[in-house]
């Protein structure tokens, strides 16, 4: 399904699309601007917490239009994609988007770490946090990629964001009690299987909660979820066809 030619083609098409979208460029610049504003207005520590927590969302925002929009536009029924190459193009989109987001995240990480070093506030565990943020980001690309087969435009990303908003609202209720899910997660001790399962559900929707200086067993859930989503998407692409019954 994938070869060097189709990877190169996908990279060129994806890069052109990103650069042709002022909204994508603005979203890409808004994140570091927001972090810088928090760092300057409050403290490097506050900016650091937000930076690592929100970094996986760079991947999520990048993973719009993963399949359905291209399929419905008819642009894949093009000579470029004859011979089943459209499957290779869609399969390559995941790795291409992930690689682009990872490269951008790495630049931001470098700049942010340099700021921390200059301020004397950079700790060695940031590498672990960055690694976990990358893993959560890859999970988002796989999740949005799978949803992108059924939802067009940015609806795949919006669906994830809405699910996260619902999950966070639910968390607010637990936070009002003496100890809530996040408290359990912070200590690594859950009072029972029910609370653990609830947190596992939260991780599936918001893997950002696994980004910390000390990896928890829930990181394995994110990694396994990433693998499962990739396999599901691969199966969808393998069976995908174009233009069923549009003409005669």
């Amino acid at each position: 399904m994938l070869d060097a030619d189709i990877l190169a083609l996908t990279r060129r098409v994806t890069a052109r699309r990103a650069l042709a979208s002022p909204a994508a460029v603005a979203a890409g610049l808004a994140f570091p601007a927001f972090i810088a504003w928090v760092g300057l207005a409050d403290s490097y520590g506050a900016a650091e917490k937000l930076f690592y927590f929100l970094l996986p969302h760079v991947f999520l925002v990048a993973a719009q239009d993963m399949a359905r929009t291209d399929i419905e536009s008819g642009a894949l029924e093009n000579v470029l994609f004859a011979g089943g190459r459209f499957r290779g193009y869609l399969a390559a989109k995941g790795p291409v988007v992930a690689a682009a987001a990872a490269a951008y995240a790495s630049v931001l990480f470098g700049l942010f770490a340099a700021w921390g070093l200059a301020a004397g506030a950079c700790r060695p565990d940031v590498v672990v946090r960055f690694g976990l943020a990358l893993l959560a980001g890859l999970y988002y690309v796989a999740l949005a990629g799978l949803l992108g087969h059924f939802l067009r435009g940015g609806a795949n990303v919006l669906t994830v964001l809405l699910a996260q908003a619902a999950a966070l609202l639910a968390l607010l209720f637990t936070a009002s009690s003496r100890t809530g899910l996040l408290d359990y997660a912070a200590t690594g001790r859950f009072p029972g299987a029910g609370a653990k399962a609830l947190f596992a559900g939260l991780v599936a929707v918001l893997p950002n909660v696994t980004v910390s200086a000390r990896p928890t067993p829930f990181v394995a859930e994110v990694a396994a979820g990433l693998g499962l989503l990739a396999v599901l998407r691969w199966r969808l692409l393998r069976d995908l066809e174009l233009g069923g019954r549009r003409g005669s």
Binding site: D5, L9, G74, E77, N78, G243, S248
Partner: protein, 235 residues
């Protein structure tokens, strides 16, 4: 060049193809004919690999494929030059078509198609229907296809462009390339094609070369392809 054997394809309750078989040879032009909904486009899409047959098989000789669909569509954020550049292999140089030879080839094919190369600076979404179609031809012809598949070849084209496209088909045949067309324009097909595949309700009901078609016309006392087609189709 192409061999389709007993192709069948179903879309839910709709049986689009039930038994389509045909062969085409190198250096020929074959026309796939049929009524609306007969399965012509589905057949082409199976040949091109956009659809997988539920039964049967299709084999295509290795080589570069060109394809112009009945309704061409392009990535809307790319201009003409960039889209053409995407068809170049990575070894071919700059992606946006800056290579001198590549530009010369684009200019030459544009002239053949009566297409204004100045339009390439714009996005095909802004082209007229006829220019968009000619751009689809350009995109497929610039790389030099060994097999050229076209669905409704003359749709949206004005008479000079129809002639230009007909000459392109003839040129490809002379160069030993294979052309597979699907069309309703029977008189045009009779003028250009060497072989005919008639599909009705998802099945091949006739598959013949030009000489056999002429014999069929005589045996059915038919003055032209249209009459043969109508008599073959039956009630």
């Amino acid at each position: 060049m192409i061999e389709a054997r007993r192709l069948a394809k179903r879309f839910g309750p709709v049986e689009a193809l039930r038994d389509v078989s045909f062969k085409t040879a190198r250096g020929t032009i074959t026309a796939v004919l049929g009524e609306n909904g007969a399965g012509k486009t589905t057949t082409l899409k199976v040949v091109l690999g956009f659809l997988r047959p539920d039964a049967g098989a299709v084999s295509v000789a290795p080589g570069r494929i060109g394809y112009v669909p009945d309704r061409p569509a392009f990535f809307p954020w790319l201009d003409g030059w960039t889209l053409l550049g995407l068809g170049r292999s990575p070894a071919g140089g700059a992606e946006s078509g800056n290579g001198r030879e590549f530009r010369a080839r684009v200019q030459a094919v544009s002239r053949e198609l009566h297409f204004d190369p100045g339009l390439l600076r714009r996005r095909p979404a802004s082209y007229s229907a006829g220019d968009a179609r000619k751009f689809a031809y350009l995109q497929s012809l610039v790389p030099g296809p060994d097999l050229f598949v076209v669905d409704e070849p003359y749709a949206s084209l004005d008479p000079p462009s129809v002639k230009a496209v007909r000459d392109v088909f003839a040129g490809l045949r002379e160069a030993g390339k294979t052309v597979l067309l699907s069309s309703h324009m029977l008189a045009e097909m009779e003028r250009i094609a060497d072989g005919f595949v008639v599909i009705r309700r998802g099945a091949t009901i006739a598959h013949a070369g030009l000489r056999e078609w002429r014999l069929m016309r005589q045996s059915r006392a038919a003055p032209d392809l249209e009459t043969v087609f109508l008599r073959l189709g039956g009630p």
